[in-house]
């Protein structure tokens, strides 16, 4: 088959007519570092005329282009271009960077030949610089390559000493090396080698000293490859491993020579160097060690791989093949740890329990089995930290003590857990075992004290407590525990009108308790016992004086009155407490702190707060700091004193308007029990407060507001969760007019009776108490409330009045979705 010959492009193309080049174009290309273009232009110009300026331009363009190539590592190409430059422009070959490029390209001998013929053309300084540059090449070159060098050249004169020093260094003969180095003067071209060999010598004994010595060797000198090796050697830790790649093969091998790595382990270290570049997985490290196990000391690879197995359990089979079979216990151990690492507690428990079974069979391993059981118990409690002690966990702890009864901490853990679970039989057994083993241990005895108190065995508790104090005279916990138990018992005796026993208990309590507040309580109780004498009144006053302030004292006295079934008002009179006094802000804050330690739901606290209500209401206008006002509000809120909270929150809002937490507290106090009654203006205020709290990152208040809004809008039954229109459609102002008309028509008494029946007695009474007997204000508030929520069905209706239907709260609605997820960083003052 014949093929038509295509005409070549060259033959097809019209002949290229080169434009005449202007000198300006050549200069512009040179000035802009467009060296190839400049070379072409200058060549064209030189064809026209060999003008010296154009020859210089061509030489500069060649030099620039050669430097560009050298920068890219193309030193051979750069050298060739330099030779062309010399031919074309008549420039001396030896000038500039040419010798350096030859050395870099491994053409040291060519550099030396050049040097031999051309040094006489150079200045003295240039000659010295060139000699230094070729020192390494001269050192390693064969003698035959040096024939052109002048006999008096320092390159030749000091060469033998430098070679001898290098040979001594290679033999490890530091003394001989030092002798040879001494012969090399500081001005010698081999001076860098002298400093380097000294640094290498130091490295054998002190790497940090070597690093210091290395700083005296200039960078990029003739012996730079050797300096680079030492720079890697002196790097701390594993950094040298990562830097190995910066060296060539000879450099890497020299580093390993100097660090003492035997040949057979070098593949391992080079692979480790590659792994150190990025994150190495356990499996990769395992495989590497397994592959090179024969080069490592006995058991080293096996031990390291064994430690890697929990992270790479899939290598269990290969482990047995490489290092010998693992026992069943070892396998369970590895798989248990692997399961823990994978966060699979059930699988981990299975393997741990298998391991326990295997270990407990061997008497020498029982303590280890006990450790595993304790870990299992701890892990169980970790997964449910707030929950009651787990049955399995208790069983594991008990088993661990059977295997290893010497572990005191486990005895204590088990005793505490059994006390929480109220298992007296087991608890007694466990306590007796612990006491038998650790009869003089304060912590065990303290547990015995608490257990005795919990079962009402005061005498036994006191005896045990004395033993604790004999061992640990300043143990504050045992004193408090026992002292408070005696106080509690004394209260019961006083309530039972048994003053003799009560005094005895108080005497006991006095021996144990140390704080002023506790002593104050003791005096108050003694004063309560001495009901008829002056002495009793004096004791009450003394007891009050021990308290931080009169208000707190009154609070405690009322508490004690309730606990001992006495009339609190009579006791306050006996103690000389001035009623209706307006307490200072600091007293209210102190009371708030006392309230924070009181048990929520304690009736005595409610009685005390009711009795002190006038004082607290009077103090609400005091000038509190914002944080103190919040402390007071929160303490009252904690004990559900809504009217007081509302009063303090409103006072706070007058000083710090629209502060979200106070808006919440006010609304919660006013409508928390019946949120469906919340008026539109309050809902709007809550919504604004929610936005402010969200903006300020106050997550706790955001959640509280969100819940309150959910309760309020849910009861009203308004549209969906995030529907901002839920405020629409609430009762208007017309209802207020209707109620005013009803009040006018019925009169105050009938109107109140009607509203009372409609609202229900508890709410009505609570509101009335809030207004402290101010009937007018109370009626205004009722009208406001009913106008806001709309009159209950049938209000004002004769039939309804005769047979009223109390307002029955609807069932609580499903909770609204939270607007903001709780976070760990809450800004509220009282965040835990």
């Amino acid at each position: 088959m014949s093929r038509k010959k295509r005409p070549s492009k060259a033959s097809a193309a019209p002949p290229v007519v080169k434009k005449a080049v202007l000198p300006d174009q050549a200069e512009a290309a040179l000035g802009a570092s467009r060296y190839r273009e400049a070379i072409e232009h200058y060549k064209e110009l030189l064809k026209q005329e060999r003008r010296p300026a154009w020859i210089e331009g061509l030489a500069a363009a060649y030099a620039g282009r050669a430097a560009q190539l050298a920068q890219k590592g193309m030193v051979k190409e750069a050298s060739a271009l330099w030779r062309t430059r010399a031919d074309m422009c008549g420039t001396p070959l030896i000038e500039g960077p040419y010798v350096g490029w030859l050395l870099e390209a491994g053409e040291g001998e060519q550099a030396l030949r050049l040097l031999a013929g051309a040094t006489q053309k150079l200045s003295r300084d240039a000659q010295t610089q060139l000699e230094t540059q070729v020192a390494a090449a001269v050192l390693v070159a064969p003698d035959s390559a040096l024939t052109g060098l002048a006999a008096d050249s320092p390159l030749l004169r000091h060469r033998a000493a430098a070679q001898a020093a290098l040979a001594a260094f290679a033999r490890g003969d530091d003394a001989a090396m030092a002798e040879h180095v001494k012969v090399i003067p500081f001005s010698s071209p081999y001076r860098d080698l002298r400093a380097l060999l000294k640094a290498f010598s130091l490295y054998r004994t002190d790497a940090s000293q070597a690093a210091v010595a290395l700083t005296r060797v200039p960078a990029d000198g003739p012996f730079e490859p050797l300096a680079a090796v030492l720079r890697v050697c002196v790097l701390p830790g594993e950094a040298w491993l990562a830097s190995l790649h910066s060296l060539n093969g000879e450099g890497r091998a020299l580093v390993l020579d100097i660090k003492g790595w035997p040949e057979e382990r070098r593949p391992l270290v080079l692979e480790l160097a590659r792994l150190s570049d990025g994150p190495a997985s356990a499996a990769m490290l395992y495989d590497l060690l397994a592959r090179h196990r024969s080069t490592l000391p006995a058991d080293t690879a096996a031990q390291l791989c064994r430690r890697l197995l929990p992270h790479a359990p899939e290598r269990l089979k290969t482990y047995s093949a490489n290092f010998g079979a693992l026992s069943a216990a070892e396998k369970d151990h590895i798989l248990a740890l692997a399961a823990e690492l994978k966060r699979d507690p059930e699988q981990a428990e299975d393997h741990w329990l298998n391991l326990v079974e295997r270990l407990r069979a061997d008497p020498a391993q029982r303590a280890r089995a006990a450790l595993v059981l304790r870990r299992l118990a701890n892990e169980r409690s970790r997964y449910d930290p707030g929950g009651p002690p787990d049955e399995d966990a208790l069983a594991w702890l008990a088993q661990s003590l059977e295997l290893d009864p010497e572990d005191r901490a486990t005895h204590l853990t088990l005793i505490r857990a059994l006390r929480v679970r109220s298992e007296p039989k087991e608890l007694r057994k466990c306590l007796e075992a612990a006491l038998a083993r650790f009869p003089d241990d304060a912590n065990v005895l303290l547990e015995a004290v608490e257990t005795a108190l919990a079962s009402g065995a005061f005498k036994k508790a006191a005896t045990l407590a004395k033993r604790v104090l004999a061992l640990d005279p300043i143990n504050p916990r045992v004193r408090t525990v026992v002292g408070h138990a005696h106080l509690s018992h004394a209260r019961k005796q006083i309530a039972g009108r048994n003053p003799v026993s009560a005094r005895r208990e108080l005497d006991e309590a006095a021996q144990w308790l140390r704080t002023n507040a506790d002593h104050g309580s003791i005096k108050l109780l003694r004063g309560i016992i001495d009901e008829r004498g002056e002495e009793g009144d004096a004791l009450l006053r003394e007891g009050l004086a021990e308290m931080s302030c009169a208000l707190v004292g009154s609070f405690h006295l009322v508490l004690e009155a309730s606990h001992t079934r006495h009339d609190p008002k009579a006791l306050l009179r006996r103690a000389g407490i001035e009623r209706n006094r307006v307490p200072a802000a600091s007293e209210v804050v102190a009371l708030a702190h006392a309230l924070n330690t009181a048990r929520v739901g304690d009736k005595a606290v409610q009685i005390a707060l009711d009795l002190l209500g006038d004082e607290l209401r009077g103090a609400s206008a005091a000038q509190f700091a914002e944080s103190d006002q919040l402390v007071v509000c929160e303490a009252l809120h904690r004990h559900n004193k809504r009217a007081l909270v509302r009063r303090y929150a409103e006072a706070a809002l007058q000083r710090w308007p629209a502060r979200p937490v106070f808006v919440y507290l006010r609304a919660s106090a006013a409508y928390g029990a019946n949120p469906w009654r919340m008026p539109r203006r309050e809902l709007l205020a809550l919504d604004r407060a929610l936005e402010v709290a969200q903006a300020s990152g106050d997550q706790r208040t955001v959640l509280r507001l969100d819940d309150l809004l959910a309760a309020a809008t849910g009861h009203i039954g308004l549209p969906g969760e995030d529907d901002d229109d839920y405020l629409d459609g609430l009762p208007g102002d017309d209802a207020g007019t209707v109620l005013e008309m009803m009040l006018a028509a019925l009169g105050e008494d009938a109107f109140l009776a009607m509203v009372r029946k409609q609202l229900g007695k508890p709410l009505f009474d609570e509101m009335r108490r809030d207004f402290g007997g101010n009937r007018k204000q109370f009626i205004r508030a009722l009208i406001g409330l009913l106008a806001d929520i709309g009159p209950p069905p049938g209000l004002g209706d004769t039939g309804a009045y005769a047979d009223p239907q109390p307002i029955v709260p609807l069932k609580p609605p499903p909770r609204r979705k939270r607007r903001t997820a709780p976070t760990d960083t809450q800004k509220d003052l009282f965040d835990d």
């Binding site: 050797l226 091998a253 490290l285 450790l371």
Partner: protein, 96 residues
């Protein structure tokens, strides 16, 4: 380094006394005011193997995998700085 025995420089079979001695020597050599991190590493290592029970617990429950650095330290533990090969030195400097 994750192996407390190596941090303290004691054998895996060391007893309480040897471990305490190594710990005291380590903190004397490097007190906390000189190198806080190193001191804390030494203290953590000591606390993890101070008693026999601690050592059992360490053997049973420690899951710290050896790092590349630790492997390197372990496999180079028996090495001492050596002498370079002379011909290699020449080749490195450009000799044939």
């Amino acid at each position: 380094m994750t192996d407390p025995y190596r941090v303290l420089g004691v054998a895996n079979t060391a007893d309480d006394e040897a471990i305490r001695a190594a710990y005291l020597a380590a903190i004397r050599a490097c007190p906390p005011e000189r190198d806080r991190l190193h001191f804390e590493r030494v203290r953590a290592a000591y606390e993890s193997i101070a008693t026999e029970r601690d050592r059992w617990a360490h053997a049973l429950f420690d899951v710290a995998a050896p790092t590349v650095q630790e492997v390197l330290e372990i496999v180079s533990a028996d090495m001492r700085p050596g002498c370079p090969d002379e011909r290699r030195l020449y080749r490195l400097l450009g000799g044939k």
